[in-house]
Amino acid sequence: MTEETGPRTKVIQVDYLARVEGEGAMYIRLNGDVVEDVQLKIFEPPRFFEALLRGRSFTEAPDITARICGICPVAYQMSAVHAMERACGVRVGGTLRELRRLLYCGEWIASHSLHIYLLHAPDFLGYAGAVDMARDHPALVKQGLALKKVGNAIMRAIGGREVHAINVRLGGFYRTPSRQDMTALRTEIAAGLSLARETVRWAAKLDFPTLELDYEFVALRHPTEYPFCEGRVVSSTDLDIDVAEWDDNFEEQQVAHSTALHAVRKGRGPYFVGPMARYNLNRDKLFDSTRALAEEVGLEAKVRNPFRSIIVRALEVVWACEEALRIIDAYAPPPQPAIEVLPRAATAWAATEAPRGLLVHRYTIDAAGLIRDANIVPPTSQNQKTIEDDLRAFITQHTHLADAELQWRCEQTIRNYDPCISCATHFLDLQVERTHGH
C-alpha cells in the first residue's frame, strides 16, 4: 500500500507481510528521495516464554521452548539441551552427539528448502506464492517439495515427527534408530543430495538486485566442523568469545514499534547472523565437495549481497545432506539412548546454529533442577536492525522504482533473512511513506 501523505511525503506500508513466519509489518517514509524512517514492525502477540519457564523442571526446557517456533523447533531443543547439560556439567559425545547433528541436518534441509522454494523463489520469479509459481514452473516446485520432504524424513526418523520432535531429551534420546531405519533413510538423503546440488546451480543463475553493506557477521566457529551446536561465538571483526561471555558483548533493546527485542553488539551496533554469516566465517569447514560446488557456480568466498543468501542456503542444504550421509554411514546404535543428567544449582549458556542463525539460551536452575530464570535470544531479533538498515540502503538506491515494484523489492529485502517472527517475539507489519519537500 502506498499513500501520499504530504506534498512530497510518501508512505509505503505493508500491514501484514506474507511468506514470513509470523506476524510483521513494514513502514517506510520517504521525503523526495530521502528515506526518513524505516520500521520493521513486529506485532506478533508475545507469548512470554521466558516467564512461563520459571518454576518448570530443567528437563522440560527442550519441549517447551520448541513451541516458540514450529519452523525451527529442533534448534530450540538443541540450544536448550546444551545449556542444561552445561549447567549440570555433562557432555554428550560420541554417537549421541552425531545423532543430534543428524536431526539438526533434517531441520536445516526442511527449513531451508521451505524458504528457498516456497517463500523466497516467488520473489525472484515474480509470483505471489509457490502455488501460483507451480502453474508455470511445476517441476521446480515439485523439486523443492521433494527436497523439503527429505529433511522431514530425517526429523521423523530421528525425532518422531516433523514438527516438535518427541524424541529429544537431556542426555540424548528416548529411543535410538536401528541400522535398518538408517538404511532406509540413506536412500532418501542420497536422492536429496542430487536435488540439493541442482538447487545450488539453479539459484546461482537468478537475477540479483545489488546491495552491499559493511556488515559484521556473527556465527559459531568450531575447530574442525561446520557449526551446529558447539564452538566459539566469532565475528568478521574482532569478536571471539565463549557464549557465556554473551552479556559482556551483546545487549537486547526494547523499541516501541516491536514486541521483539532488538539485539545489538555493545559499542558497535547491529550485526548479521544466519547462513551468510556461517558461510563467510566457516567456508573452510565445508566438505571439499561442497566448496567445489560453490566454486563451480561462482559463489564468492565472502558473500555480502543479502539477495544472494538464497545460494548460500542451497549450499547449506548440500552440506547438510553430505553431513547426514557421513553420520549414517558411520552409525552403529549406541549402548544406551541417553546418559544421565543430574541437576545442580548453576547458570549456563548455550548457542547453536538455527537455520536462521545463532540461537542463544541462558538458564539458571536450582539444586532440584527447577528453572529460576531463562533468557532466549533468537536469530531474527538479532537481524532485525540489520534488516532495517538494508531497507534504508536499498530504497535510497532504488527510489526510481514504481511504488508497487519498490514495495515488492522491500518485501524481498526482508525475506532475504528468512525472518521468523514467531521466534523473535518474544516479532513483523511493512509500511513506505513518501514526503516530497519540507
Binding site: 508475545p46 518454576g55 519441549d63 514450529g70 522431514n152 518427541i166 528416548y174
Partner: protein, 274 residues
C-alpha cells in the same frame, strides 16, 4: 466450471507449527491447491482474495484485544470455521499465564512493559466465536488434517477421533509403558498421533489434549502409586493443554503440600494452580 472450496488460513498467538503442517503435505500440496482455492494464507502467499470464505482454518489463541476483535471478523466471513491445534483449541502453552499475573510476565520479558499490549489471558477461539470443528494436537497431525479436508470436500461428516491414545497404542501392539514404571498420559489423552511417544519408549505427555471422557483423578491416583510426586503431576497436566478442562482443574486435585509445582520463584505471588 465447478466452484472450488475457498480456503483461508488465519494465525493468532501461536508458533506456526500447525499451519506448517499444511505446507508439510509435500506429496499432496499441489493437488490440494487444485481442489481448493487458497484465498488467504499469509505464510504461503502475498496474494489475498477478500471473503467470504467457505472454510477458515484458525491457528493460535486470543491474547490481545485486537485479536479478540479480529476473530469475530474472521467468523463473520467464514461458512465453516475450524480450529487447528492446541493453541486455537485450548489456549496453548501460553495459557499458563491464565493461572498467573500477566504484569509479572511482561516485566520478566520486557524492560518497558507499557509498550506491550496483552490481555491477562490466552483463551481458545471457542471462547469468542462459534467453532464448527476442532482438530487437536501440538502440532496437529497432517494425515488427520488431510482426512478432514477430504471428508469436507466429499461432503461427508469429518471424523475426528475421540478415543484415547491407549486405544491407538494397543492397536499398534506397543507394550504398555506404565507396566514398566514409566508414567504415561495415554489413558486421558485423545488419539490422533497413533501413539507416537510410546513407540519411542516415552510416556505420552498429552499434547493432543484430553480425551472425551478423561478420568484425570484415576490417572493421578495411579501415578501417585507409581511414586510420581505432586509437583511433577501438576506440571504434566499444566503444559501444552493446561487450559483444557479437565486438565485445567488438576490444581484443585493436586494440593500444594509439596513445593509449588511452578512459578513460586522469587515470591512473585504466582501460584501453581488456580
Amino acid at each position: 466450471m465447478t466452484t472450488r472450496l475457498k480456503l483461508a488460513v488465519w494465525k493468532f498467538a501461536s508458533c506456526d507449527g500447525c499451519q506448517l503442517q499444511i505446507l508439510d503435505c509435500e506429496d499432496e500440496l499441489l493437488v490440494l491447491a487444485e481442489v481448493v482455492d487458497i484465498a488467504y494464507f499469509k505464510e504461503a502467499t502475498r496474494h489475498e482474495d477478500p471473503g467470504p470464505y467457505d472454510l477458515s482454518l484458525v491457528e493460535g489463541s486470543i491474547t490481545t484485544a485486537h485479536d479478540a476483535e479480529r476473530i469475530r471478523q474472521v467468523r463473520a466471513q467464514s461458512r465453516i470455521l475450524v480450529t487447528i491445534g492446541a493453541c486455537a483449541t485450548s489456549g496453548g502453552i501460553q495459557a499458563l499465564k491464565n493461572f498467573d499475573d500477566v504484569a509479572v510476565y511482561k516485566s520478566i520479558v520486557y524492560a518497558t512493559p507499557a509498550y506491550v499490549s496483552s490481555l491477562a489471558t490466552s483463551t481458545p477461539i471457542a471462547d469468542h466465536v462459534t467453532v464448527d470443528y476442532a482438530i487437536p494436537g501440538c502440532p496437529i497431525d497432517k494425515t488427520m488434517l488431510l482426512r478432514f479436508l477430504s471428508a469436507l470436500l466429499a461432503g461427508r461428516k469429518p471424523d475426528i477421533p475421540t478415543h484415547t491414545a491407549c486405544v491407538a497404542c494397543k492397536h499398534s501392539g506397543v507394550a504398555c509403558l506404565m507396566v514398566r514404571g514409566i508414567p504415561c498420559m495415554g489413558p486421558v489423552t485423545r488419539a490422533g498421533c497413533d501413539a507416537l511417544c510410546p513407540k519411542f519408549a516415552r510416556g505420552c505427555f498429552g499434547c493432543f489434549g484430553p480425551s472425551e471422557t478423561a478420568n484425570v483423578d484415576a490417572l493421578i491416583a495411579q501415578w501417585r502409586e507409581m511414586g510420581v510426586d505432586e509437583a511433577t503431576i501438576m506440571r504434566a497436566f499444566h503444559t501444552f493443554q493446561a487450559w483444557a478442562p479437565p486438565f485445567r482443574q488438576v490444581g484443585d486435585v493436586v494440593k500444594s503440600q509439596t513445593s509449588p509445582s511452578r512459578g513460586a520463584s522469587q515470591g512473585q505471588g504466582r501460584q501453581g494452580h488456580d
